[in-house]
């Protein structure tokens, strides 16, 4: 892939996405930001907000996938199916916006290749309104269900010290008492005026905490998408 990346900087916006099928948009956003820094070309506020919307929708599909697989590993097949059923709705939503389910191919130097117009924004809002109670129900299960708790509480504890030593990042680090979140560095549209966001973090460091951090981040992502849609100029 590194050889392929040397060939054509324009193709790389799409090539970078192929690094991963779960966090594809994050890779192309990173490449776009690097290219924009090098060339001095600035994205418009609208493009930054659309990027943030897609990043958060991808966070939802990524976290629900992980939570579904945690449920499966716990022997909780029924919850696995619940998570993947709700995830599918978000896969269809990103398909509605980008025309793609996995590799959105939306990023470009200085902006994005697809707009979210008023009609599409309303459809996204409606879908989020529809999905929020379902996601809250799943969060309640992760938070309170005795089967989930018995099989995750105190299991696989990663202490804060260990997380620091082993260079852990993301929701795993945030479940071990580290409140770091790369979104606080102000990439994409997270630094824009009107975006309110505080990292979700917990101190327990066990599998339950890692599940809860992801679950709460899913609910937070829904809120962030609402904020971005409301701010679209």
């Amino acid at each position: 892939m590194e050889y392929a990346l040397e060939q054509d900087w324009k193709r790389n916006f799409f090539l970078c996405e192929r690094v991963c099928g779960i966090c594809s948009f994050h890779h192309s956003t990173t490449y776009s930001q690097a290219m924009e820094t090098i060339t001095g070309i600035q994205s418009t506020e609208r493009a930054l907000l659309i990027r943030t919307i897609m990043l958060e929708l991808q966070r939802i599909t990524s976290h629900t996938l992980t939570l579904g697989h945690i449920a499966e590993s716990l022997g909780y097949e029924n919850m696995f199916m619940h998570f993947f059923r709700e995830r599918e709705e978000f896969m269809r939503l990103v398909n509605l916006i980008s025309g793609n389910r996995v590799h959105y191919s939306m990023n470009w130097l200085g902006g994005v290749r697809r707009d979210i117009g008023p009609e599409l924004a309303r459809q996204v809002e409606d879908k989020l309104e529809e999905m929020l109670p379902k996601l809250q129900m799943l969060a309640d299960v992760v938070r309170r269900d005795s089967t989930w708790r018995k099989r995750t509480k105190g299991v696989g504890v990663l202490t804060k010290r260990q997380a620091m030593d082993w260079c852990v990042v993301g929701p795993v680090a945030r479940a071990s008492g580290l409140s770091d979140d790369v979104r606080l560095s102000g990439n994409a549209g997270y630094a824009l005026q009107g975006i309110k966001f505080q990292p979700v973090w917990r101190e327990e460091g066990d599998t339950w905490a890692r599940s809860m951090v992801r679950m709460d981040e899913v609910l937070q992502s829904v809120e962030l998408v609402h904020q971005c849609l409301a701010l679209l100029p």
């Binding site: 392929a4 060939q7 620091m164 082993w166 260079c167 580290l178 770091d180």
Partner: protein, 142 residues
Amino acid sequence: MGQEAVDIKADLKNRLEASGSGPSRLISIISLDNADGTLDLIYMFHRRAEVEQLRYRVNPDQELETVSDLFKGALNMEREITDLFGMRFKGVQGGLLIMPDSGIVAPPRKPIDRPEGGSAGWLGPRPYPSGRSTPHSWNPCI
């Protein structure tokens, strides 16, 4: 070439201690080939919600001190750099991404642009499925 030996570990330790702003967490070590016989090693840290970078220019022929006793997670990052860029760290074995006996040595390294008559730089073997020797002679678009 002619790059002075850099003691990255001592420098990192001094800088992190001197800053005195709470613990730092290593996120990643990025390696960059400058195509002039030097490598840049970029150490990325997360500290107080800020991402900071420390950049060192090194001669790939020198053996560096490992920082894996400061940050245990650095071990695999250094193994990756050993495999992909041929950099050596004391006490660190490669073999994380490339099998030791595969005959593939530092595949992403670039040929050195050197003046006519200059000393030969690092041009290790870089076998590639195409049978050609440099990334520039291999273009999947053609």
